[in-house]
């Protein structure tokens, strides 16, 4: 691929690299970032990694994670090339890095999100692949550098994370073939990677889940399910809104449910909403009624109302989408 060729040429021509990714980094962000840094080191380059947020504990099994420095550490570093991975927009790397880290020669933007902006001097945006890790895999395959054990575990982690362990619609046959390749190269147990990535849950999250399930309500036909999370529930369980991730999927899984609604009370008293469907209902259309968006089966919106008002409004609107 031409853009991969141009990218390799750019990498070969320069010596000093900075890499970064989005705030609140996930498995694909960290996996693709570390994999590319290992690749560049093999080319003999000077590589430094700067992230706004620290590496979550669950990703501290990955090789060289401790090389990721905080944003402030970049203050006296002037890279030739600044590579930003998986970030969607330049702003999402955080304000300090965004304003203070300046590349002498070029900014490279590597991303797979459909919302990705072309903010780089080089933009490798491939929206048909599962993850930024899949792009890095395909890129390295076009070079003379071999994917080694260390690169393999980083890329497999990114692939696994962004496909929800091969269960989302972005897990294509190509994704599985890459996973097979990485498992063969890597000296890692895929079930242990799974355990690290998906089963490293703070105790408070379990207590929050328990509190949240107590709020479960279904419409009389069983087709609309709602749960809510209040600030007081977060306080009591010492959790944050990040810990709510995945809760809406638990009620989406109830066999009678066509629309699953999860409403979080924000600190300002307004509502953050997640919507899920098993396929009968297009919840992106439902979200758009509230100026939100997303996919047919997973969408969201914000409503400037308290959580109980929001639930009432959402259930009323959702009723129009229900199939018999």
């Amino acid at each position: 691929m031409d853009s991969f060729h141009a990218l390799l040429t750019l990498f070969q021509r320069h010596e000093r690299f900075a890499l970064s990714t989005h705030v609140n980094p996930d498995g694909d962000a960290i996996g693709s970032e570390l994999a590319l840094s290992i690749f560049l080191s093999k080319l003999g380059k000077t590589v430094r990694l700067f992230n706004t947020d620290p590496v979550p504990k669950k990703y501290q099994f990955l090789p060289y994670w401790e090389n990721i420095e905080n944003a402030q550490a970049s203050v006296n570093f002037r890279p030739d090339v600044f590579v930003i991975l998986d970030a969607s927009s330049r702003e999402r790397i955080g304000p300090f890095l965004n304003s203070r880290l300046v590349a002498k020669h070029a900014v490279v933007n590597i991303d797979h999100h459909i919302t990705a902006e072309t903010f780089g001097d080089y933009n490798i945006i491939l929206t048909s692949v599962s993850s930024t890790s899949e792009i890095i895999y395909n890129f390295i395959k076009t070079t003379h550098i071999a994917i080694d054990e260390e690169i393999a575990i980083c890329l497999y982690t990114g692939l696994m994370f962004d496909t929800g362990c091969f269960r989302y619609s972005n897990a294509t046959s190509e994704t599985h073939r890459i996973a097979a390749d990485l498992i063969e190269i890597g000296d890692f147990a895929p079930d242990e990677v799974y355990s690290n990535v998906f089963e490293h849950i703070p105790l408070g999250k379990i207590h929050l889940l328990n509190q949240t399930l107590r709020t479960l309500k279904l419409t009389t036909d069983g087709k609309i399910a709602t749960i809510f999370i209040t600030q007081s529930m977060l306080d009591k369980t010492k959790t944050t809104l990040d810990d709510v991730e995945g809760f809406v999927n638990q009620i989406q899984a109830i066999e009678s449910v066509q629309v699953a609604i999860c409403v979080c009370e924000l600190p300002d008293g307004n509502s953050k909403v997640s919507l899920r469907s098993q396929g009968q209902v297009d919840v992106a259309a439902l979200a758009s009624e509230f100026n939100g968006g997303g996919h047919e089966r997973a969408s969201g919106c914000r409503i400037n109302r308290p959580y109980n008002d929001s639930i009432r409004m959402l259930v009323e609107s959702a009723k129009h989408y229900i199939k018999d």
Copy 2:
């Protein structure tokens, strides 16, 4: 492979086939059974399927599931060959089929379990593969019959189910390559298969999960977690012991936990125990203290004591395995 060749020869030589699998059939049981029946039909054979238990609603998206008859329907059918899939032992197909369905020529036993008994005239037992579906895939690949869309979705379902959606240690690179192949052949959406297989949960199970999470207790160091399920909780939520599946994984996922213990009260007042580990502790060794068994990370036992006594005994024993 020789045994595959012998199996194909056997299939070609005979005309009337009966297929069955274990009681309480899961995705691999039904997936491999349906895939083989489609294959045999393509060879022009008469094929009938008899299961002791009905096809669970969540598998009723698979092609020809409605061809699976109940055990009693086999009463006047005398097959040349009786193929038993994924059953571990002859008895596990259920008493009626076990005693009343007699093959004129041969019984074929196809299985991947390490506990599989060699009860057949032909025994294709491969314990290094993920699933019986993976064996059927490999078998069909050695023949002149192509894997078509209908066979593909059945085998993918079996593969996905038995690997916990590619997250258990049996999901090898070979499993991923087969999944890739099946996705390419099949006219199905993997995320919809996932949704059918893993997200088709009765409402009562969510209520039971909620009740169960209220019983969560951790030792003061946070390293041993226990939950329990009583008969009265099952009654109240209109659920059965089958619905408890997966609960122990939720507490195993708590980041501090080395040993997760789930104790179910049986109808006779005794205890059925599931044990899980994130890898530091060998819970098979712990289970063996109570005459149970299993794997390092997942094991179980029965204790002839009430659930609260069992929890106390298990926690005391588990303490000796905890790592600092």
